[in-house]
């Protein structure tokens, strides 16, 4: 298969209330691997309380699509944390 250059890229930085929650979000999202790594790659990491998502894709259209779906899932994670985090109770 021809090697496609991953020319399009974008980095998202999403701040969380604590490094713990940022790490949880990263671990949750990282379970779903790239379906086609040859045309679209996502690298997930955290820096303190910031969740960092690096996207690299072959086309702009694909970039939009993968960012969209990642944001939808990130939003789901954030909403779940907002509704059900018990950290405050436990500390």
């Amino acid at each position: 298969m021809a090697i496609t250059a991953l020319n399009e890229q974008l980095t998202l930085q999403i701040p969380f209330p604590s490094p713990r929650l940022a790490k949880i979000a990263a671990d949750v999202l990282d379970v779903d691997k790239d379906l086609k790594p040859e045309v679209s790659r996502r690298i997930i990491r955290t820096q303190d309380n910031i969740l960092i998502l690096d996207f690299q894709t072959s086309t702009l259209k694909l970039l939009r699509t993968v960012i969209n779906s990642s944001l939808e899932m990130a939003q789901m994670v954030v909403n779940t944390m907002g509704a059900f985090d018990t950290e405050q109770d436990e500390v």
Partner: protein, 342 residues
């Protein structure tokens, strides 16, 4: 021991909490809560993965809160979080699994990924008390005749193309019947008023069945049959149900004869159809057998069945490590090792 079950493989979003009191043998099972929210597309349309996923993401938080409130428990009381790993639609499955993972990490709980079909079977067994039945699993996405043997739910026969519920639902679209509460329910009600039987293609191949031919036939011919004034919409619904269910009864009977079982357990959304239950009962009584079925709370997709199948696996020491909690659209019933049965 308490399990939270999250289900969202199709258009039903379900959350359930189940308790197994381990001080008795077998454990005493209590259903603490079982709540559901269904996505209904407009009449004439089916549910699309993207819209269904959005529905689940919109309602899941509220539904989990309701389930916890109804059960009157806090996160501390929960031992394990169970979610549907597959089969089903990718987007909806992953949306729900994402919530399950987040909860598990925040609350420090174990996760169990559950096969949707096994969830139906285990819930049906729990509710009805059927010992070792032939299972007919009929829904909008699956049609399988199943029997347990040697730690697996073995598929004796299945639909070669579309599922029986899909066939009924798509015919409901032809007639423009509402999707609320379910297209199949509305076909069932209309069929009660029908009496004229039309000869429709009947396709049983060995233990397998095929529904796409009968659907094409009735879709193509419905407008002319109705225009002729000779047949009503009710007659068409009646004829479709009689034909489809006869195929299911035939294959189920053959499976019963093969394994020598006198019990049939009907699970899945189409399993609430009273006409299917009636036809199956007639067959079973001729064989001195018995039909076990549940009502819509447990037949139609729900969270409690995922909690039930998950907690049974969890009790044998099974958990799904986080990195393996991805979802899969294809996940056959016989892939699951049934460690909890003899």
């Amino acid at each position: 021991m308490i399990a939270l079950g999250l289900e969202g493989s199709a258009n039903k979003l379900g959350v359930g909490l189940i308790k197994h009191d381990m001080s008795t043998t077998p454990p005493t099972v209590t259903i603490l809560s079982n709540v559901r929210h269904t996505y209904h597309p407009p009449p004439g349309e089916g549910f699309l993965p993207k819209d269904t996923a959005l529905h689940h993401r919109t309602f899941i938080i509220e539904l989990i809160k309701n389930a916890m409130a109804e059960a009157n428990i806090t996160p501390k009381d929960i031992d394990v979080i169970c979610f549907t790993k597959g089969p089903g639609m990718g987007g909806p499955l992953t949306s729900v699994a994402t919530v399950a993972r987040t909860l598990a990490l925040m609350w420090n709980k174990e996760l169990v990924g559950v096969n949707h079909c096994v969830g139906h079977i285990e819930m049906g067994r729990q509710i009805t008390g059927a010992e070792n039945p032939v299972v007919l699993y009929v829904s909008g996405g699956n049609t399988q005749v199943i029997a347990y043997a040697d730690k697996r739910y073995r598929i004796f026969g299945e639909a070669l193309d579309i599922a029986v519920g899909n066939c009924i639902d798509r015919f409901a679209r032809v007639l423009g019947l509402p999707n609320d509460p379910a297209p199949g329910y509305n076909v069932e009600q209309l069929a009660k008023k029908g009496s004229k039987l039309i000869d429709l293609p009947y396709t049983v191949k060995g233990m397998d069945v095929s529904f796409s031919g009968v659907l094409s036939y009735i879709e193509t011919n419905a407008p002319a049959l109705l225009a002729s004034g000779e047949y009503t919409e009710a007659d068409l619904c009646f004829s479709l149900q009689e034909t489809l269910f006869a195929m299911l009864v035939e294959t189920t009977e053959r499976a019963m004869a093969h394994i020598g079982s006198k019990e049939v357990l009907i699970v899945g959304g189409v399993g609430c159809n009273m006409r299917l239950q009636e036809m199956m009962s007639q067959m079973a009584s001729q064989r001195d057998g018995k039909v076990f079925a549940t009502d819509e709370r447990f037949c139609i997709d729900n969270g409690i069945m995922i909690a039930q199948a998950g907690i049974l696996a969890y009790q044998t020491g099974y958990t799904t490590p986080l990195e393996k909690t991805w979802c899969t659209q294809r996940f056959r019933t016989d892939e699951v090792f049934v460690a909890w049965r003899d």
